[in-house]
């Protein structure tokens, strides 16, 4: 896990109240690069979300790294996407497969955002990242 993720995780776990925590998450969301309008196409939409979530995952062959770009029209999901990007950025497929995202979210007390009833697509995104990493690792 890289240092910038550890930093983010500390900020979230050390938030003094839930208000502070969600403010933190939404601030992270604001830092997430906005996906250009022409990339916000239906084919990139993650299914089963009440809000729109767009996801691109590419594999950089030379560096053997995943490149992830994602965006959402809600602030909180955007913040969660940002956390996911910190979590996985610059990792090799093998390193990605070793990450237990459930545990990470649980430690930040954000596990409920992975529940399918939320319809936010976070779980689907994690699955997709793992699927791609698995394919590349083979």
């Amino acid at each position: 896990m890289n240092d910038s993720y550890i930093n983010v995780k500390n900020q979230i776990t050390q938030a003094g109240s839930w208000q502070e925590k969600y403010r933190e998450i939404m601030t992270l969301g604001k830092e997430l690069p906005v996906l250009p309008q022409e990339l916000k196409v239906d084919s990139a939409i993650v299914d089963g979300c009440e809000s729109n979530v767009w996801l691109y995952i590419n594999f950089n062959n030379e560096e053997r790294k995943l490149l992830i770009a994602a965006d959402s029209d809600t602030r909180i999901v955007k913040g969660l996407l940002s956390i996911i990007l910190y979590l996985y950025s610059d990792l090799t497929p093998n390193q990605i497969l070793l990450i237990d995202a459930n545990k990470e979210f649980e430690e930040m007390a954000l596990l409920k955002h992975l529940s399918p009833s939320r319809g936010n697509g976070i779980k689907a995104i994690l699955n997709e990242i793992n699927r791609k990493a698995y394919l590349m690792n083979k």
Partner: protein, 405 residues
């Protein structure tokens, strides 16, 4: 007056603490909470009377069958109908599908099915399927853009224009809470012998519909939105018309005689209840009806109305909040948005405060398109909610909105 403390004590779930805050349940439109007697009756049934209905020549079978049919009587009485006019189904959705399936035999190409712009997908999609199969045409009573409800004059004009074979509209909108002027519309449709269907999923508990007064041909509802269990609902139909519908599913129990060549069916309601029914669900819904009967309807209405007016006035005071729908004739459901914020964010923050609301399009995508929005935050109240809960909600809501500003 409704003794609200006494009422709330009957609903065990309302004592819950969610995210370290007392639960404020404002999502009764999705499903209502259940009183202890309804929960207990399911336990009691499986502990004391469990057996199949209409078959066993034994004491338990008798007991189960009597309770099962008693519940049908209770519901019939509750809506001022006859027991044989009540069919048990899985819910409003299945009731509408049963009707769409059965009535499609009466339709010819070009016949019109008229619905309103406020319908739940369950009262749109089955009719689209019927149209695809029969060549019938689906027409829509539009939403008036300024009042955000349907207009009676427009509805009459459309009825005169299309002379619809079927008219299917909701008694109350799940998204906006609008109480629709169905009595007048049903009355007017008689001019053309239109078959009238009312989707009462939202109205059943709040409005206690009277079938004789409404004079519709069919009325559908879901038990779980009216204090009862999930997986159960009902269909009321005027007997002759109901009995003239072809069977929907076939199998055991609904049969008079079977040979390998042909079968004959029992009369309604039995012929629509193929297979082993949701016996414990039916019996516990009977208890939900008993529970409602013990609450004076006028007291309930007065309480719900005062909650609604209070909530509306409080929301109107928050600048940036946009309210939708009919804010006068309403079952106690308010949909809103705040500036350009996504409803999802508002609900996620409210959940942190122990407040349950629903967001999204509420299975009414066409209505969202009429309103030019993607979704709303929806608060749906019930008689077990309190003014204090609304006060708490408003305090928390302001806090949540300030996090977004």
């Amino acid at each position: 007056m409704l003794d609200i403390d006494k009422v709330r004590k009957k609903f065990p779930i309302l004592k819950q603490v969610v995210n370290k805050q007392p639960l404020i349940y404002f999502d009764s439109g999705a499903t209502s909470q259940k009183p202890q007697c309804v929960i207990d009756s399911i336990n009691y049934f499986y502990s004391n009377s469990n057996s199949n209905v209409h078959r066993g020549i034994h004491t338990l079978g008798d007991r189960a069958t009597v309770s099962y049919e008693e519940a049908r009587n209770k519901v019939a009485k509750f809506i001022n109908a006859q027991a044989k006019e009540i069919v048990w189904t899985k819910g409003a959705t299945e009731s509408l599908n049963l009707l769409a399936n059965g009535l499609s035999n009466f339709l010819h190409p070009g016949d019109v099915i008229l619905i309103s712009a406020l319908e739940h997908h369950a009262n749109i999609v089955p009719w689209q399927q019927v149209c695809a199969n029969t060549g019938a045409i689906l027409k829509i009573i539009p939403l008036d853009e300024t009042t955000e409800k349907i207009k009676l004059e427009t509805t009459y004009q459309l009825i005169d224009l299309y002379k619809p074979k079927i008219l299917s509209i909701s008694h109350a909108s799940n998204t906006l809470g609008n109480i629709q002027p169905i009595t007048d519309i049903i009355q007017y449709s008689k001019k053309y012998q239109t078959i009238t269907i009312i989707d009462g999923a939202q109205a059943f508990m709040h409005l206690r519909p009277d079938m004789l007064k409404l004079n519709c041909d069919f009325y559908v509802f879901s038990a779980h939105k009216s204090l009862g269990p999930t997986g159960l609902g009902g269909l009321y139909g005027k007997y002759e018309l109901l009995n003239s519908l072809p069977v929907y599913q076939t199998g055991g129990e609904m049969i008079k005689s079977v040979s390998f060549d042909t079968s004959t069916f029992t009369d309604a309601p039995g012929k629509f209840e193929a297979g082993t029914p949701n016996i414990s669900g039916v019996i516990s819904f009977g208890c939900a009806i008993d529970f409602m009967n013990k609450i004076d309807f006028l007291d309930q209405k007065t309480h719900e109305k005062s909650l609604f007016i209070y909530l509306k006035s409080q929301l109107e005071k928050i600048s940036g909040i946009i309210l939708y729908g009919d804010l006068e004739l309403n079952i106690g459901t308010i949909s809103f948005n705040y500036k350009n914020e996504h409803p999802f964010d508002i609900a996620t923050l409210l959940d942190q405060c122990g407040i349950a609301v629903r967001v999204g399009n509420h299975c009414t995508q066409p209505l969202m398109r009429c309103l030019n929005i993607e979704g709303t935050v929806r608060i749906s109240l019930a008689f077990y909610n309190t003014k204090n809960e609304i006060q708490q909600f408003i305090i928390h809501l302001k806090q949540c909105l300030s996090l977004l500003d």
